[in-house]
């Protein structure tokens, strides 16, 4: 059965998207707030979200809120902050067990808690609670500093940052330590009001759609709004002016290599699907060129893969290797990419990659969260295709197109984390 979404306008720039899917044991409701990725507000947006998640008017302390969620059969409230191209997306989600499984009707109550989180914060003298802002400021400071603990994702982040240091995409989505101190409870509350009045907000509900649930979501959301901001398009770069080599020396046991390439192919371009398949053939999984050559043949790495970053249209290859194997690994990667560009792969390789992408896309149907993310991503990229159409389009890609897409890839930045040399 094809998944469909019904889209309802609730206010200027606020839309409710209803996806009726009854096979899960839970329902899921998400509010996605979309902002341009900008240095001047990224830190404030993150801190604001952390403060909002702490409590609300009806449950003014974290303890009361948490007790209530436990009481409501472990209803799961989560917050996600990330960048999708040159946008910062803040997601508040509630997932709760269907009332039919627990023998108690509580949908309206859970939905109310999620909405209060966004629209009814705890206030004190016309500002956020000082104690919450102070605590979350410190927590955010630590969280940003903690990037370094996960060496793999830190290396990827550093590569993107160096590669895009003059572009908005280089901005770290959780914000900056040096911007934290100037944000107090008053400034943050003013910022919050602005965000609520001017941001595009997409509400996605996946689960059993019934009249009472829809009414509970809609209630009080026909609010007054200022002019809703327009989110600027991503700036794609398809040529490389200066190639970059960045080395971080640290006390580590394994080297982390990340190589960034520009493709410059917009996700609505007909070459975008071919680009995804090219990247999959190169480094998508255990059947890929990089896995076979870098890992299986040369035993240089445990993991190596390539990934396309959709909105910005860049490709990153990342791997963990011995410090001394840097040159050798780069050489093999380069050689494999050249082979890809020269069309040295078979129709069979294409078929495998297409199947793998199709299997993963089809699997979206089995996760209530991924269904929500899929429909949101379609809205964000103004893509009107259904999941079924998205899948069909992958099957139409030709070898010529893959070669053409691969040839658009231009190396931009090589990042290497290594041990300290004396």
């Amino acid at each position: 059965m094809a998944l469909k979404s019904e889209r309802i306008k609730l206010a200027d720039g606020i839309y409710l998207n209803l996806i009726n899917e009854d096979k899960f044991k839970s329902n899921l409701l998400s509010f996605y707030i979309i902002r341009p990725l900008s240095r001047s507000e990224v830190t404030k947006n993150t801190l604001m979200s952390l403060v909002l998640k702490r409590a609300n008017k009806n449950y003014p302390t974290s303890m009361e809120l948490e007790k209530k969620l436990e009481e409501l059969y472990g209803s799961n409230l989560s917050l996600g902050i990330n960048k999708r191209g040159e946008r910062q997306v803040i997601r508040f989600t509630m997932e709760w067990a269907k009332s039919s499984y627990v023998g108690e009707e509580y949908d309206g109550e859970v939905i109310g808690i999620l909405k209060d989180m966004l629209f009814n914060p705890v206030l004190e003298g016309g500002a956020f609670l000082k104690s919450h802002v102070d605590q979350e400021r410190e927590n955010l400071r630590k969280r940003i500093e903690n990037k370094i603990n996960d060496k793999g994702s830190y290396a990827i982040e550093r590569c993107i940052e160096s590669m895009c240091n003059n572009e908005r995409y280089g901005i770290y989505p959780l914000g900056y330590v040096e911007d934290l101190d100037e944000i107090d409870e008053r400034l943050l509350y003013e910022h919050y009001k602005d965000i609520i009045r001017t941001s595009p907000i997409e509400i996605l509900y996946v689960g059993r759609v019934d009249h009472r649930i829809v009414e509970a979501i809609k209630k009080d959301l026909n609010m007054e709004r200022d002019e809703v901001i327009t989110i600027p398009e991503d700036v794609l770069i398809d040529s490389v002016q200066t190639k970059n080599m960045v080395i971080d020396e640290m006390d580590v046991n394994q080297g982390k290599l990340v190589i960034g390439y520009r493709a410059g192919i917009h996700h609505q371009d007909s070459l975008y699907n071919p680009l995804l398949i090219a990247s999959d053939i190169l480094g998508g999984g255990p059947n890929s060129k990089l896995f076979k050559n870098v890992r299986e043949k040369e035993s240089l790495a445990y993991y190596i893969s390539s990934t396309i970053y959709k909105y910005k249209s860049i490709m990153l290859i990342d791997s963990g290797i011995n410090f001394d194997d840097f040159d050798k690994t780069c050489e093999i990667i380069n050689q494999q990419l050249e082979e890809l560009k020269a069309g040295q792969f078979t129709e069979e390789d294409i078929a495998k990659s297409v199947k793998s992408i199709v299997t993963n896309t089809e699997s979206i149907r089995d996760s209530i969260f991924l269904i929500s993310e899929f429909f949101f991503s379609q809205i964000l990229s103004q893509d009107r295709r259904t999941l079924e159409e998205v899948i069909e389009d992958f099957k139409k890609v030709s070898k010529e197109e893959i070669v053409e897409a691969a040839n658009r890839l231009k190396i931009d930045t090589i990042y290497f984390m290594r041990n300290k040399t004396k």
């Binding site: 269907k98 290797i321 199709v358 299997t359």
Partner: protein, 428 residues
């Protein structure tokens, strides 16, 4: 074909079970309307099984650390075929993992599932080891070990296990060390394989919108004939004292702030099945009641800035070991440790309120229901529980049976200052 059916009304799920012609236990949970199909083929064999009597021999041997994991890597090697490629050909994705007590091989697909199932059974039952391919794997696994060495959360956890346990092999890294894997040879791998990959030691769990009849037929056709279906495998664990080995261990690493874990070592071990799972659930409920996000403890320390959202606690146990782990990051880990000790000085009835118990049981019911949405969650938990002689479909009934008094009794027994170790990783 004779089979058994188990149905649970609360979760509205059923499990069908039978045994293949050669003794593989097969379990199947139908999931109507799901696109993905998932199979996981597991052996009751993990990193702690490093002393045993090989099949057909009389003397016990000790094998190098990391061998179960090494074997997991090597089973993907075939003489003529490339396993990854064969799975890719049918649009399926294959993977495997090793932990302390089990090794599992899994794949999922949306199409051609039965072909994948045949491949899964065949490759796990057909080891192809040569001196050359064993050597080649050492470089790859060395990189996997190096990757973990740079992970402070992994380090702080294994340092804690080494502080709690004197002898028990749970203190050994699952992947071994770069040195220990160098001692692994083709012959030891075969010996280990023949002992632990006997059908009598294995279980297959399949989940998805599939036909039980058809999948059993596929397994019966694909499986290897075994002349000798082994009796019980003789495995040995060293004598492990009740007391912890060390109180506090520390290491310095490339991190932004100190990371800590502390662990209460469980003295009440040595059984499986319902009794063990009940202990597991009871202890986890206690940890929620003491350290969860709705507790005074959590909120006080959070507001004082001693802990943050990374703080958490859980209990983990198997037949031969068990421990409650409390961890997170803090600029003052010793203070958190002192506060934990201070908390435990209060009487149980004051610390553990019946209303919290009732509420957290509801919370656990909901968590389990949400988990039942995910075929991966079900498959992984099924196998883990199965090797402890417990069926996942009985979980909610067990949860219902737990009484407040169970909480008090267990608390008084398990949470003692003298069986608490602390492990800290500090920034360089």
């Amino acid at each position: 074909m004779s089979y058994k059916e188990i149905y649970n009304e609360t979760i509205d799920e059923r499990i069908l079970t039978t045994v293949s012609n050669n003794g593989i236990k097969i379990f199947f949970m139908p999931k109507k309307g799901y696109t993905r199909k998932y199979a996981v083929f597991s052996t009751d064999y993990g990193s702690i099984d490093n002393v045993f009597v090989p099949l057909g021999e009389k003397e016990k041997i000790e094998v190098p650390e990391g061998i179960a994991h090494f074997l997991e890597h090597k089973l993907f090697e075939e003489e003529e075929a490339n396993i990854f490629e064969e799975f890719s050909n049918i649009g399926a994705q294959v993977n495997a993992f090793t932990n302390f007590t089990q090794t599992s091989y899994l794949f999922y697909s949306t199409d051609n599932f039965y072909e994948g199932l045949e491949l899964l059974i065949r490759f796990v039952q057909n080891p192809y080891l040569t001196e050359e391919n064993v050597e080649k794997e050492k470089g790859i696994i060395a990189q996997e070990i190096r990757m973990y060495e740079d992970n402070p959360n992994w380090k702080v956890y294994f340092n804690l296990l080494r502080a709690m346990y004197h002898q028990h092999p749970v203190r050994i890294d699952i992947a071994g060390t770069v040195e220990s894997i160098n001692a692994i040879t083709k012959d030891i791998l075969y010996k280990t394989y023949n002992t632990f990959y006997n059908p009598s030691n294995m279980v297959l769990f399949v989940i998805g919108d599939l036909s039980f009849y058809e999948l059993v037929r596929v397994v019966n056709e694909a499986e290897k004939k075994f002349d000798h279906v082994s009796d019980e495998i003789l495995r040995f664990l060293p004598e492990e004292p009740d007391r912890i080995k060390e109180r506090i261990v520390e290491e310095k690493m490339m991190t932004s702030m100190p990371i800590f874990t502390m662990g209460f070592k469980d003295r009440d071990v040595g059984y499986k099945g319902k009794e063990m799972i009940k202990k597991d659930v009871v202890t986890n409920l206690i940890l929620d009641m003491l350290f969860g996000e709705s507790t005074n403890f959590y909120n006080e320390l959070y507001e004082e800035g001693l802990i943050d959202g990374s703080f958490g606690a859980y209990f983990s146990c198997k037949e031969s070991y068990g421990h409650s782990i409390i961890g997170g990051q803090s600029n003052e880990p010793e203070k958190v440790y002192e506060r934990v000790l201070g908390l435990l000085k209060l009487p149980a009835e004051e610390l553990l309120k019946e209303e919290d118990f009732i509420r957290l049981k509801k919370n656990e019911l909901g968590n389990f229901l949400l988990g039942m949405n995910s075929i991966e969650f079900i498959a992984n938990n099924f196998t883990d529980l199965y090797f402890s002689d417990f069926l996942i479909t009985d979980y909610l009934e067990l949860l219902k049976e737990i009484q407040y008094q169970d909480i008090i009794d267990r608390f008084n027994f398990h949470f003692k200052e003298d069986n608490l170790s602390l492990s800290i990783i500090r920034p360089l």
